[in-house]
Point group: C2
């Protein structure tokens, strides 16, 4: 079988040589014989390319999954199909409370006002002239993994469906500190009310000090302008903070001395603790990890075979320091390999070789960040928060590999 293939290849090379020498008659005959054996792509010229490339039609199943359970559309990244740490723009998760505005950039402006010496207005042209910086960061919805937090039994869903409200990209924009310093901060300035130009004027109050340190007015994502569903033409970007404070379609920043307690921060995005107290303005997404392969609804075809356990870890507070993996439901843990680059508040890829013996196995990953914060078990997380709380869920994800190779979500 193999020798035959090799002979075909040799014959083809001879044929190509004959073509080059102008012996087309003999060549054509050889090609007829060969065409039955060669892949179709090798016996007919390929198709045309397009100005803006698209994925293969054979990968049409790799798309975001839509959930409307919350009353608004939530588009989730199919993390089980992502390798590496960059999420392509077409698959970046998105949550829309008021649809996706279609904003003509020449009519859009960003205003800075409130406790500033000189209110400012930036159109796109002006903003694009400021120095920009680029940073690779994850972005995660506060409500990511809500089903695992709320559902009494583990739902049999894919990783993307369970925990795909997180993605990672290279964000480029103007440090907000440049603009705020140009406006000049007045005494008493402590907070900034950040508002989007969507139909619900989504808005959040954010502490000024943190914005001056870290915030970008983001204009680009993975090298191209923001997609409409990511806030085109501009959004706020706060590395490591929950998704909804990264206000999309950004058009107004009001510097204030206190939070505005907008509808978006006094309602959906607070968190009730087990003792009834409320955690508000809790912005950081905590340390978390998921095994992407093998993961929910995948099937391992060959028992007694080698598989690479591969996954993603991230922390809203800094770099990932360590990821441990268990293949026995948490009884024992092995330190996984972290793949470079290990970046601040970005996806970090980890992996561990695994020989599956065909027995039922429960796979788990547990990440620790550079500040020593460790992912809790689900039971620990549930003890901390009220029964109906679901934001900032970062507990260990467990997958059971059944004896028939099917992988399913379990609580462990």
């Amino acid at each position: 079988m193999f020798v035959e293939d090799n002979r075909v290849a040799m014959a083809r090379r001879t044929f190509l040589g004959a073509m080059a020498a102008g012996v087309t008659g003999a060549g054509a005959q050889a090609a007829d014989k060969l065409s039955a054996r060669l892949p179709a792509a090798m016996v007919q010229p390929g198709g045309a390319d397009v100005p803006y490339g698209q994925p293969s039609s054979h990968e049409a199943h790799v798309q975001r999954t839509l959930s409307t359970q919350s009353g608004f559309p939530v588009w989730r990244t199919p993390l089980q199909h992502q390798h590496g740490i960059v999420t392509p723009n077409g698959l970046h998760f998105a949550v829309h409370h008021n649809g996706v505005p279609d904003i003509a950039p020449e009519r859009h402006a960003l205003r800075i006002h409130g406790l500033v010496n000189k209110p400012l207005r930036f159109d796109l042209e002006r903003l694009m002239r400021y120095p920009m910086v680029s940073r690779v960061h994850f972005l995660e919805c506060a409500g990511n993994s809500a089903a695992n937090a709320l559902s009494p039994t583990a739902l049999d869903e894919s990783l993307g469906e369970l925990a795909g409200e997180v993605s990672c990209a290279e964000w480029t924009g103007v440090p907000l500190s440049y603009l705020l310093h140009e406006a000049g901060l007045k005494e008493g300035a402590q907070w900034v009310v950040v508002e989007g130009a969507d139909a619900g004027s989504h808005s959040r109050s954010l502490p000024l000090e943190a914005l001056l340190k870290d915030a970008l007015v983001a204009l680009f994502q993975n090298g191209e302008r923001l997609r409409p569903s990511q806030g085109y033409p501009m959004r706020l970007f706060m590395p490591g903070w929950e998704g909804n404070v990264n206000v999309k379609w950004l058009h107004r920043l009001e510097v204030t001395d206190r939070p505005a307690f907008t509808k978006d921060e006094s309602g959906l995005y607070t968190q009730v603790l087990a003792d009834g107290r409320i955690e508000r303005f809790a912005f950081h997404m905590e340390v978390k990890s998921v095994i992407t392969n093998p993961s929910g609804r995948q099937t391992l075809l060959e028992p007694h075979g080698f598989y690479e356990i591969s996954g993603l870890a991230w922390s809203g507070r800094g770099r990932i320091a360590r990821v441990e993996v268990s293949v026995d439901g948490g009884r024992s843990w092995v330190v996984a390999q972290l793949h470079a680059p290990v970046l601040d508040r970005a996806f970090t890829r980890f992996s561990l070789p695994w020989q599956w013996t065909g027995q039922s196995a429960v796979l788990m990953s547990r990440a620790t960040d550079e500040h020593g914060k460790v992912q809790p078990l689900r039971s620990e997380w549930k003890r901390r928060y009220a029964m109906h709380s679901f934001n900032h869920y970062n507990a260990v994800q467990a997958w059971r590999v059944r004896t028939d190779g099917r992988v399913e979500n379990v609580y462990a």
Copy 2:
């Protein structure tokens, strides 16, 4: 003007408060008054999102430009629109000698044969089970910037048109060494003939030692499967080497004791030196940089204004160590800031603040890599190669900013 805007915002907040309290009659009236002043996006719900996201319709001009001057299609990245170091997959450059094959992954296989102990065949399912690694690397066509090498006068084109046959992405795949070691190398193994499953069976002979060190069988680009025009379902990836050896639609690797001198390496991709000798198997792309902003065919609107000079540098031999920028046609040079992360054989972003005085100015960038290799001037490059040579052109790119703000390509 600003105060008015602010008052509108305040009025709207009051209106939203009224809505929340159920006072809809008053609210509706207020909304009518407001709607004339608010951006359209804020007074009507936004549109729906799609499972695989696309760029804004307002950015339709950001696309690859097609050249067919070489007799085959060359799609160039609009580098002047890229910020950061990641090129989005839709804008990655591509060169096709025989069109873009449409390959069904379930019918595709990679074969390894020749001087090996055990010839091997990998279908996609099997290959996907091997451990993978991810690396951010640039990829550049050997013929990038050919116009600057060949044209006696500098063409007035955009950066993308002049030098857009280079892009940068996160590539993920299986190290080829894993597969070659599994096949087992026989004595005498020195080269590998790498063949693509396209209609011209594009093939190159590559030295085994370098492949064992660096080559990937790449399956993913920026987190998703390769696009068809990048070799779906798999391509060879050799960091830092000229584009065409990164064989797309990879289906055959023949281990040999000598190069095959295929049509693709004995013809187009050799380089004639000024003294008539021929440089063959010169794989590395040399150190190079371009200022992306301001660049060809852009216009600076405001004289006596601040502009950020921003650009990209890369080297096929390692990391970028330094980029110098001149704003006076090379008489004086200033060291630019390199933006983190500075990765091995990847785009590195550099920048320098610049105050334009409205005078004519010639901007240039000159990169040095970690091995001390420095970009030559155009005159130096031309002295080294024959008149008609154009591959591996890496000379300093110069842009003249005219007094009317127009930026144009010049030889300097």
